[in-house]
Amino acid sequence: MRENRLPKKSLRLWQTRCGLIAVFPFTAFLIGTFRNAVCVLPLICFFAVVLWTAFFYLPRYCAGFSLEIGKRYLLVRRGVWFRRCDLIPFPATVYTAAFSTPLARRMGLSALSFKMIRGWLILPEMRRDTVSELLTEVHR
């Protein structure tokens, strides 16, 4: 049995995504603040939420995430408050797909999705070599 954790790059990728997503609403709130002082409160709240997600939630999520590859199963642990642990036997997966966004590709990361007979399981970005190892293991 081998255990894999998310690399630091993955955390940085998600923090960057969080920052990029926040740019447009943040700009809108900022323009709103210049026009009407009432917008200061939502701006502060939004800023606090973004900071909390990037520097509190995401590091804890990444630290709590682990992937164990057994002989005939895959064990995925994740979650911050509601800790979830999915045990998937290899025959239960119909097919697997690796995919990556341009930003993730630049960082040498790739995400993985498992199609099961009833439902999906999407794993966050991991190193490409880990992903290819995992794919070989599942389809052996």
């Binding site: 057994g70 002989k71 005939r72 199963y73 064990l75 979650g79 408050w81 509601f82 800790r83 979830r84 642990c85 999915d86 045990l87 998937i88 036997p89 025959p91 239960a92 099961m116 007979i117 009833r118 439902g119 399981l121």
Partner: protein
């Protein structure tokens, strides 16, 4: 030996069915001269209708179905000829449906299913002559077991247990609307005013609108019960290597599938059945996981049937919910607090605002009863719930308001999901959701079991050969 059949002439009508009201009916009206000015079709519609009819006839004539010991071959298409070859071992089920029109013209709709992905699962859907369909069904899926008929009392009981007001309304409302449109009258408005009038006659303490809602729900339940009873009227089940289930009254359905490969067995009790000490037996069988229900019966008899099918086999350690003082006494607490709240609220409202009392009680009492029942489910999970990872997986738990016991072999387990909530982490317990690999959804949640022990057993269960 090769056998061949052709499509029944009703296939022409079935092909033209979607164009009936928009194209064919105006064209026929115009041909026979009784057409209203509004119905007279444009000059392009009549040739189009003729063309469609010719195409439907040619399509019916082009269809051929061949079968032998190894495979099934279907030839279809007018301009583009398709030949589909399906090895017989890939067939997962055969369904035969006979509606009122089929009964009149001696035809039957045959649907052949394979193990392919859901989008391409039905590979052949055709209208054959009745005896051809029966011969095909008998040769592809020949039943050998004993056919079981169900006494009327049990059929009524099954219909009562499976009916619900919501299901009834889901069926009845579109039907009433469609019938109203067809006859050109506001049928739904007429019915609603009739229900409102009847509701106003009841001398109740509650407002009139509550009576109307209750009456609509009761009517929904009656419709659902009637539909369920009609479905169970002809119910016959043959369990063996090939399993066959016959049901339906207006539309008679027969499903035949490979019953040797049982994927899961589920004993299920709704609140009503729990009170009557009876249960359903849901069997998920066949290579693709078709589900069929054995009608309601005593728990002991259903267990005996499950034994005959090779289940249940509790051979490992039965992991039960973790027992501690906090867990043992907390189930009924919210319900009792709620009931005390209702009593206090009723007392205060009666003194200060007596006119609000009926509405308040109407809303609070059902919610209090629901909370009490939820407490009972928690108590059941605590006393009876558990999971065993032995030779086969056996689990007892609940799903929604229903109680379930699930038995399945190792190779059919889809996913095991352990969820540890923040307030459960202190006790090291979790909820375990088990999903079975089948087309029909078969799930069960076992609550408050020891996380470490369950996870260790589950990993060993999948690691062993």
């Amino acid at each position: 030996m090769n056998r061949a059949v052709r499509a029944h002439p009703i296939a022409v009508v079935r092909t033209l069915e979607p164009f009936g009201f928009v194209l064919l009916l105006p064209a026929i009206q115009m041909l026979f001269g009784g057409a209203d000015a509004a119905f007279v079709p444009a000059s392009a519609e009549l040739p189009l209708a003729v063309l469609l009819t010719v195409w439907a006839i040619l399509r019916r004539r082009a269809f051929r179905l061949f079968w032998n010991e190894r495979e099934i071959r279907v030839v279809k298409g007018v301009l583009i000829r398709h030949t589909v070859r399906i090895p017989r071992r890939n067939l997962s089920a055969l369904r035969m449906e006979r509606g009122i029109a089929d009964a009149l013209f001696g035809s039957a709709r045959v649907i052949l299913e394979t193990e392919a992905d859901a989008a391409r699962q039905v590979v052949v859907r055709c209208d054959l002559r009745r005896w051809d369909a029966e011969r095909l069904s008998a040769e592809l899926f020949a039943t050998s077991g004993k056919s079981v008929s169900v006494p009327l009392k049990r059929r009524i009981f099954s219909a009562l247990a499976t009916s619900s007001a919501i299901t009834g309304l889901t069926v009845a409302v579109p039907t009433v609307r469609r019938a109203g449109k067809l006859f050109g009258i506001a049928l739904s408005e007429l019915l609603y005013s009739q229900i409102s009038e009847t509701a106003a006659r009841f001398n109740a303490r509650f407002p009139k609108v509550w009576n109307t809602v209750t009456l609509i729900l009761l009517l929904g339940y009656v419709v659902s019960f009637a539909a369920a009873l009609l479905a169970f009227v002809r119910y016959r089940l043959t369990v063996g290597r090939i399993t066959a289930a016959k049901r339906g009254f207006f539309v008679r359905r027969e499903t035949r599938l490979d019953g040797g490969n049982i994927r899961a067995i589920c004993l299920e009790q709704t609140p009503f059945l729990r009170a009557a000490r009876r249960c359903f037996l849901r069997v998920t069988a066949g290579s693709f996981g078709h589900r069929y229900n054995l009608p309601v019966d005593r728990i002991a008899r259903q267990r005996e049937r499950a034994w005959q099918m090779g289940f249940p086999c509790v051979s490992g350690v039965f992991i039960r919910p973790k027992r501690d003082r906090v867990t043992a006494h907390r189930f009924y607490r919210p319900a009792f607090l709620w009931l005390i709240g209702i009593a206090a609220e009723a007392f205060l409202i009666r003194r200060k605002m007596p006119f609000l009392l009926p509405v308040s009680l109407f809303l609070s009492v059902p919610m209090g009863i629901a909370a009490l029942y939820y407490g009972y489910i928690g108590h059941f999970n605590y006393c009876r719930g558990g999971i065993s990872f032995g030779e086969k997986l056996c689990a007892v738990g609940s799903r929604g308001f229903c109680f379930r016991a699930l038995y399945c072999p190792k190779h059919t387990v889809g996913v095991l999901r352990f969820t540890e909530k923040p307030w459960e982490r202190r006790y090291g317990t979790c909820n375990l959701k088990i999903g079975v690999r089948a087309r029909a959804s078969v799930y069960l949640t076992v609550r408050r079991i020891d996380t470490a022990q369950a996870l260790e057993n589950a990993v060993r269960f999948f690691s062993d050969e």
